[in-house]
Each structure stands twice: as structure tokens, then as C-alpha cells.
């Protein structure tokens, strides 16, 4: 097990390097000379040249990349082009908000998804199953930004039960968290159901029945543990969509998180901020995946063999 974790950690390194490289290269694709942009209109040749020198833009591209990596490792993500403040500072005030939102959402995803999926699988083709699955189908079809607007209109504007936007009180969390978690919950519910139904048809369930075990023992002890194996992977992937989803949901509900920071930075072409934000979100996702992989391994020891 320890060996597996070490090995898996070793595999993460090239991925992280790859991610930084992709982010770095994308920013290189930006048309125009950053020094010119940074210097502002009407700056003299000399100013631009100095700026270029100080930013290291004269060096060969791979040296620039290594400089960039060196900076990232030391927590230096560069400075915002807009207000000149270090990007890391901006991220560190935004990240906790997004993190909190993500945690509530993933909780909604897992709890609602699992309950609906299991209930559906126990009584397949019942009216309860049918209604859960119709809701789940809607859940994966409604765009989160539209669902957010609908919820906002209904519960905040029309009924006035909840605040419209912002991020001040616990009441503010409810709508964004539901909006963000709903799609994932639908996917987890569908996955749990089909995984359960598949497991229930397997030989070892027949064995369990042949032993005379009680129905609930068969479902919760014999079926569920096996059915959870693919669900774990899906939950892990869902976390990624969720991080991406914060971009939209934070915009809808005017939450000052990391996602909104990235979008605003793109609009104002504040590239270091975009770079930093995307990088941090990706690194978080890489580590979440690592944890999911380890969990998967714990649940499914059979892959030891291969």
C-alpha cells in the first residue's frame, strides 16, 4: 500500500509539470508583446526594453519556463497587471471562499446522489425510481448557470426567502451550493443505480441468496461495497467538474471566489492572475484525484494483481 502511494505520488510529478507547461505555453500564445502592454500606451522604446529585461522576456523560452517553475515553487505567481499586487495574495483571499462552496456542493453531490441511486436500485422501475431518474436526467441537462438563475428568481426574487447574491451569511451559501452540486448529484445517482443493478446480477449475489442471507444483508453488505467501486471514480471526476463549475456559479451569484477572479481577469486580460488561478485549481484537482485513486485502491484490492 505504502509502495502504491509512493508510486502514485511519483506519477503526479510529471502531470504537475505538464500542467504548468500547458499553462505557461497557453500564455505564450497570447498575441502581442506583454512588455508593450505592460508599459502602457506611449511608452518609450527604452522603457519597454528595460521592462523586457526585468521580466526576463529576452531569455530563451525554456529558460523563461524554468524561471516560471522556480517562481511557482517559491509561491511567486507574479504580480497582477491591473493593481500590481502579488497574484498569490489575491488567490489566498479568494481560495477559501471557493473551497467552502466546493465542499458544501460535493457534500450535496455525494449524499443526494447516493441516497437517490440506492433507493432507485432497490426498487428498480418503481414510481420512486422513475421519478428520481427523471429528475436526474433533468439534473444533467439543465445548464448550471440557468438553474442558478431559476433558483435565484424563485427563492430569492419571488419568494424572498434567501438572499439574491453575495457571500456574507450561511443563507448566502444555500443557493450556490445547490446549483453547483445538483449536476453532480444527478450523475452520481445514475451511476450508483446502474452500478448496483449490474452488481445485483452477478454470480456472487446468487451465492449470497443461495446461502439464505436476508435481503438487506445482500444489498448493503454484498452488493453496495462492490457497487461503490466505480462510483468512487465518478465522484472524483465530479470534483473536477465542480471546480470548473465554480467559474459559472460564482458569476451568477456574485460570489468573490477563485472562479470569478479568473473570469474577471480574462476580461481585463490580467494574464498572471489567470495563469495563477488556473494553475492552483488544477493542482487542487490533481491532488483530489490522487486521494480518490488511493481510496479506490482501498476499496478494490483486486487491482493488486495486475
Amino acid at each position: 500500500m505504502a509502495v502504491f502511494i509512493l508510486k502514485r505520488l511519483a506519477q503526479v510529478i510529471p502531470v504537475i509539470l505538464g500542467v504548468t507547461l500547458v499553462v505557461f505555453l497557453i500564455m505564450q500564445m497570447v498575441p502581442g508583446d506583454s512588455a508593450v502592454i505592460l508599459a502602457g500606451e506611449g511608452a518609450s522604446e527604452q522603457t519597454i526594453e528595460d521592462l523586457r529585461e526585468s521580466l526576463g522576456l529576452n531569455k530563451p523560452i525554456y529558460v523563461q519556463y524554468f524561471d516560471y517553475i522556480k517562481g511557482v515553487v517559491q509561491g511567486d505567481f507574479g504580480n497582477s497587471l491591473k493593481n500590481g499586487k502579488p497574484v498569490l495574495e489575491e488567490i489566498s483571499t479568494r481560495l477559501p471562499i471557493t473551497f467552502e462552496l466546493a465542499m458544501y456542493s460535493i457534500a450535496i453531490t455525494i449524499i443526494l446522489g447516493l441516497i437517490a441511486g440506492i433507493v432507485s436500485a432497490i426498487r428498480p422501475y418503481s414510481w420512486l425510481d422513475m421519478s428520481f431518474m427523471v429528475i436526474a436526467l433533468l439534473g444533467i441537462s439543465l445548464p448550471s448557470f440557468w438553474l442558478g438563475i431559476l433558483l435565484m428568481y424563485t427563492f430569492a426574487i419571488n419568494l424572498g426567502w434567501l438572499p439574491v447574491a453575495g457571500w456574507e451569511s450561511p443563507m448566502h451559501i444555500i443557493l450556490p451550493a445547490i446549483t453547483l452540486g445538483a449536476g453532480g448529484a444527478a450523475i452520481v445517482a445514475r451511476m450508483t443505480r446502474s452500478s448496483m443493478l449490474e452488481v445485483v446480477n452477478q454470480d456472487f449475489i446468487r451465492t449470497a441468496k443461495a446461502k439464505g442471507l436476508k435481503g438487506y444483508v445482500i444489498i448493503f453488505k454484498h452488493a453496495l461495497r462492490n457497487a461503490m467501486i466505480p462510483v468512487i471514480t465518478v465522484v472524483g471526476l465530479q470534483f473536477g467538474s465542480l471546480l470548473g463549475g465554480t467559474v459559472l456559479v460564482e458569476s451568477v451569484f456574485a460570489v468573490n471566489g477563485l472562479g470569478r477572479m479568473i473570469v474577471d481577469a480574462i476580461r481585463t486580460r490580467d494574464l498572471p492572475v489567470v495563469q495563477g488561478g488556473v494553475l492552483v485549481a488544477s493542482l487542487i484537482f490533481v491532488f483530489v484525484n490522487l486521494i480518490v485513486d488511493i481510496l479506490y485502491r482501498v476499496f478494490n484490492k483486486r487491482i493488486d494483481l495486475n
Binding site: 502531470v15 505538464g18 444533467i140 445548464p143 480574462i266
Partner: protein, 297 residues
């Protein structure tokens, strides 16, 4: 002589078999209610796409400030927006934008992804390691964040959104195709054609690709849904289609500012996107049931 007769009857048998095949496939789709519902929804969208401009009662760009922010009436079935433009007409005109972006993105992402997956899965070894690492890196970007990063570099426009969304569809296709290829590669009929002396091109495109079409088709229909959602999302954020373009995501975004007094501005574009995605998901579910009962959501 008798040989000719035999050949003639054989060709007869052949055409009968073809007819039967077609009938079976149609029955399979027809008997699958989810797929059928999906198909019906999608054909409505297809009709809109083709006849939209003809059916539009108004010019989608014509500003009529006197009639701005009207709710649905007989004159304007879906009401008007903040500049008095007819929302129905805009939606009809916009259908080619939303659908076009989705299809082109999946076409682009799909073809690159399928090729990468085939090569990685079939050849294995170093090539596979390299492609797999590449896929890993692309998958390490959460959700539409990769697309977002690309748009930020290329600049905000609908074409760039298409490229970005297509790009982030690549690893999904590549991964599925790689897995299926490795599975099919092991089957004995592949060994049999290798033994007959077939080269890699024949094996890849005549024997492996046709046998992994099911997962590809299913993935494509699901991906199309995601691509449309992502592209609309980017436009919603103001990073894709720019006003006054009648792209549905952008229309929805514009409607957001008038939620208090004109909620229909956000309602209708949202409904249009949702139903389109619902249709695709239904079709995807149905195809999955019909083609490959083992695959799951």
C-alpha cells in the same frame, strides 16, 4: 452455367440480407423509447436550424426601443428583449450558432481524440506512454477550466470557444478509444487477420475501428451535450459570442440583468439550451442501452 446461377442467387440473398439489417436497426431504435424521445426533440431542433430564418417573424437584430422588455404576447410569442428585439426570432436565428459550435467542437475533439486513442491503444509501449501522459495532463484541468485558459489566450470569440471546447473534448475521446482498442486488440479475430498477413492499417481501420464505434457514438452524443453546455457557459460569461449575437448563452447572460422585471428574457434561451441537452442525453441513454449495455453514465 450452374456457377452463374449460383452467383445470381447469392447476390439476391445478399440484397435481402441488407434490407433485413436495416429493418432490424430501425426496429431497435424505434423500440427504445428514450432514444425515440431524444430523436424527436433533436429533429425539432434540426427543423429550426434549417427553416429558422424562414420562420422568424422579425429581423433578429432590429432594435425597437418602444417595445422593449415586453412579456410574451401574440405579436411576440416569446416577448422582446431590452432593446425591443423579438426573442423568438433571435432564438431561431441563434440555433445555428449553438448547434454549430457544439458539432464543430465535437468533430474536432473527436477526430483528434479517436486517432490518438487508436494509436495509443494499438501500438502500446512508448507511444502509448507518451499519449497517455498527454491525456493525463489534459484531464488534470478541472471542468471547463482548460477551455477557459485557451480562450483567455486566444481572445474572446465564438470561434475560439469552439476550438477551446473541442480541445478539452480530446482526452475524453482518446481515453475511451484507447481502452476499447486495447480490449478489441486482444480478441482472437484480430490475431486471425494478423496471421493472414494483414498490415496495421487494415487491422486498425477495418477491424478495430468498426468494432469500437458503439462507445464512440455514445461518447459523441454525450460529449455533444457537454460541449453545448460549455460553449453556452463561456458565452454566458461573456467570453464567447459577443452582443448583439443571438447565441443562446449570451442571450441568457443578457437576460440576467432584467430578472426583476422581465424574467422571460432569461427563461426562453435557458429552456432552449436545456431541451437540446435533454434530447442529446436521452438519445445517448437510448443508444447506450441499444448498443452497449455494459457502459454506464
Amino acid at each position: 452455367m450452374s456457377e452463374n446461377v449460383q452467383a445470381a442467387t447469392l447476390s439476391q440473398v445478399r440484397s435481402q440480407v441488407k434490407k433485413k439489417k436495416r429493418k432490424e436497426l430501425w426496429q431497435k431504435i424505434y423500440s427504445n423509447k428514450a432514444a425515440l424521445a431524444g430523436l424527436i426533440i433533436l429533429s425539432i431542433y434540426a427543423l429550426m436550424l434549417i427553416f429558422g430564418p424562414l420562420l422568424s417573424p422579425y429581423d433578429p437584430y432590429e432594435i425597437d426601443l418602444q417595445n422593449k422588455l415586453q412579456g410574451p404576447t401574440l405579436d411576440h410569442l416569446m416577448g422582446t428583449d431590452d432593446k425591443g428585439r423579438d426573442i423568438l426570432s433571435r432564438i431561431l436565428y441563434g440555433s445555428y450558432l449553438t448547434l454549430g459550435v457544439g458539432f464543430s467542437a465535437v468533430l474536432f475533439g473527436g477526430s483528434v481524440g479517436i486517432l490518438l486513442g487508436l494509436v495509443a491503444g494499438y501500438y502500446g509501449g512508448k507511444i502509448d506512454s507518451i499519449i497517455s501522459r498527454l491525456i493525463d495532463v489534459m484531464l488534470a484541468f478541472p471542468g471547463i477550466l482548460l477551455a477557459l485558459a485557451i480562450v483567455s489566450a486566444l481572445g474572446t470569440s465564438l470561434i475560439n470557444v469552439t476550438i477551446a471546447v473541442g480541445f478539452f473534448s480530446i482526452p475524453m475521446f482518446a481515453r475511451i478509444v484507447r481502452g476499447s482498442t486495447m480490449e478489441v486488440k486482444k480478441l482472437e479475430y484480430i490475431d486471425a487477420v494478423r496471421t493472414l498477413g494483414a498490415n496495421n492499417v487494415i487491422i486498425l481501420f477495418r477491424h478495430i475501428l468498426p468494432n469500437i464505434l458503439s462507445p464512440i457514438i455514445i461518447q459523441a452524443s454525450m460529449r455533444l451535450a457537454t460541449a453545448i453546455l460549455s460553449a453556452a457557459g463561456l458565452s454566458f460569461l461573456g467570453l464567447g459570442a459577443q452582443p448583439p449575437s443571438p447565441e443562446w448563452g449570451a442571450m441568457l447572460s443578457a437576460g440576467r440583468d432584467f430578472l426583476f422585471n422581465a424574467p422571460h428574457m432569461a427563461l426562453f434561451p435557458g429552456i432552449m439550451i436545456s431541451f437540446l441537452v435533454l434530447g442529446l442525453n436521452l438519445l445517448g441513454d437510448g443508444l447506450r442501452d441499444a448498443l452497449d449495455p455494459r457502459m454506464k453514465a
